[in-house]
Symmetry: C2
Subunit: 326 residues, 2 copies
């Protein structure tokens, strides 16, 4: 299919064209990259924007159930919802956090919903660019909300936060007074913390955990992009579909406040700058990703660790091998 034709179909809301375009941006082939860039340039002219919601949570907090319930609620309100994933683990396991669509059984059957599993990639940099491009494709396809989910591992939250308008952190009720070891850096990215499983036996534990996080959030530095009372923590039950409407109301309040004050467009502009610089950096560092370079890096790193050679001397050796002046 010609790029122009694919573009037209995506703009008209053709789901198969969208799926095909995402496959295109995920491809590592050079001719595919050229076509993908052309396609994204064409689609950018539509100027369509969705609300991009980043969602992070460790395995077991009920992320899939939340996406299912929250997504169904949005669809019931007449909104079109796309779900994408950034999964740093899929590179290793070959698996995918959204591979099992049966976990979002209802949502995956909705015409107004589009669920796309995380691609298997060899590095987070690659996953980031492809997901960012998939978000742009979903926006052009007319979705109102794009949910970008990730597991709470390593730097994937930063990646997702850098492409989201809102960042949600989903947590499970904690036993005791421990804050689940959530890194402060992650908390500082969150706009809304949702303590899930506020149902049945866990309800009171969820409320206590929520109160703990509310307290912890108050200790954080105030951010210019937040109105009074944000970031906030609240309880939800994805299973019982409780608290989702109030969480959605909070998200809308936050979005409106930011749009009125220019933070919305300001953040998007900063994110675009970030991704531009990041793309350039990743391309320069790509020389370390070849099999030869990876093997040589490991060899030299082992020698450095054993004290056989200094980091400086090993680096010069490596750069010589790459044909770069040290």
């Amino acid at each position: 299919m010609k790029t122009a034709e694919l573009s037209e179909k995506i703009l008209s809301g053709d789901r198969r064209a969208l799926a095909r375009a995402i496959t295109l941006v995920e491809s590592g082939r050079d001719d595919h990259r050229v076509a993908a860039t052309e396609l994204l340039d064409l689609l950018a002219k539509s100027g369509r924007q969705a609300l991009r919601i980043g969602l992070s949570g460790t395995p077991g907090v009920g992320k899939s159930t939340f996406v299912e319930s929250f997504g169904m609620m949005l669809v019931a309100q007449g909104l079109r919802v796309a779900v994408l994933a950034v999964d740093p683990s899929s590179a290793r396991t070959g698996g995918s956090i959204l591979g099992d669509k049966t976990r979002m059984e209802q949502l995956s059957r909705q015409k107004a919903a589009f669920i796309r599993p995380s691609p298997s990639q060899t590095n987070l940099g690659g996953v980031a660019r492809r997901t960012r491009e998939a978000v742009a494709l979903c926006e052009a396809a007319g979705f109102d909300v794009v949910l970008i989910e990730t597991v709470g591992v390593g730097q994937s939250e930063t990646v997702v936060a850098q492409m989201s308008d809102l960042f949600l952190l989903l947590l499970a009720p904690a036993g005791g007074d421990e804050l689940q070891g959530v890194k402060r850096g992650i908390m500082e990215m969150a706009d809304i913390i949702l303590v899930n499983k506020a149902d049945g036996d866990l309800k009171s534990a969820a409320m206590r955990t929520c109160a703990d996080y509310s307290g912890a959030l108050r200790l954080l530095r105030k951010r210019p992009q937040d109105p009074e009372g944000y970031p906030k923590a609240q309880t939800v039950s994805a299973l019982q579909e409780a608290g989702l409407d109030s969480a959605w109301a909070d998200m809308k309040t936050l979005v409106e406040w930011r749009q009125d004050r220019g933070h919305w467009s300001g953040t998007r502009a900063e994110q675009a700058r970030y991704w531009f610089a990041e793309d350039v950096r990743q391309a320069l560092l790509a020389r370390l990703k070849t099999p030869w370079a990876q093997g040589r890096m490991t060899e030299l790193s082992d020698q450095v660790a054993q004290g056989a050679v200094s980091p400086t001397a090993a680096a010069q050796e490596m750069l010589k091998g790459l044909g770069v002046a040290g």
Copy 2:
């Protein structure tokens, strides 16, 4: 002076030779880099190691007074102490956190002490490598303790922690129940938190602040390189020279525990691997540091922020200009 001669003088403890060698590693000239690498290789054979203590604290917490009192205590115990600095702000201001030696009046006059101001550099990567090399020079010169101090700004703590055996965080007593906005990531790096100014009117505030941090440290994940009770918080008064002996005793306890269990050498090996990989990455990214590249990056970044061009397309444009395939 020949490199071999300089090496001999440093090994014999000649302070002027040491100062000269640090100037050499700080130089950006190509022939100086070659000589510096040669020198470091020669000196590495001595196998001498100092205790490397990283010290971070924001301006006003009394860092200079602490270094003066703590350094004088170590000198009184017959130890030789070198003080280096990583100052990310000096690149901008041209100033230097250790430029004013009069703030360490006694220590700077000791024969067993060596104080070296932070070099003015254009980027933290460069400062990091040069400081790391200065540490190696001080070790070869026979110092027992190398204090590497930094201000609590940006990523300079990470840089210092990655070249230290122990990382100290110096804090001032806080008013109220607020944890001074210390980022959790910084707290997670600290081995010992020292609440300074536990004297006069501030004594009880210092004790309260110390209790707050003790509580916060207990919420952190346990690290394999820590014995029971670490990381810990304690009060000191650099002014009244109080608590310094107990802090030093704690440091020695921690160091012995880590040496006995292999964490000491394990951490040093990991740090060497880190710096090797970092040197290689920095050299690859150096192509973005030329005046032309910086100017072009700014231009393209502005276009991206205005939405005139996509991050992907702008990155390809930039890479074309650098002669790199996108």
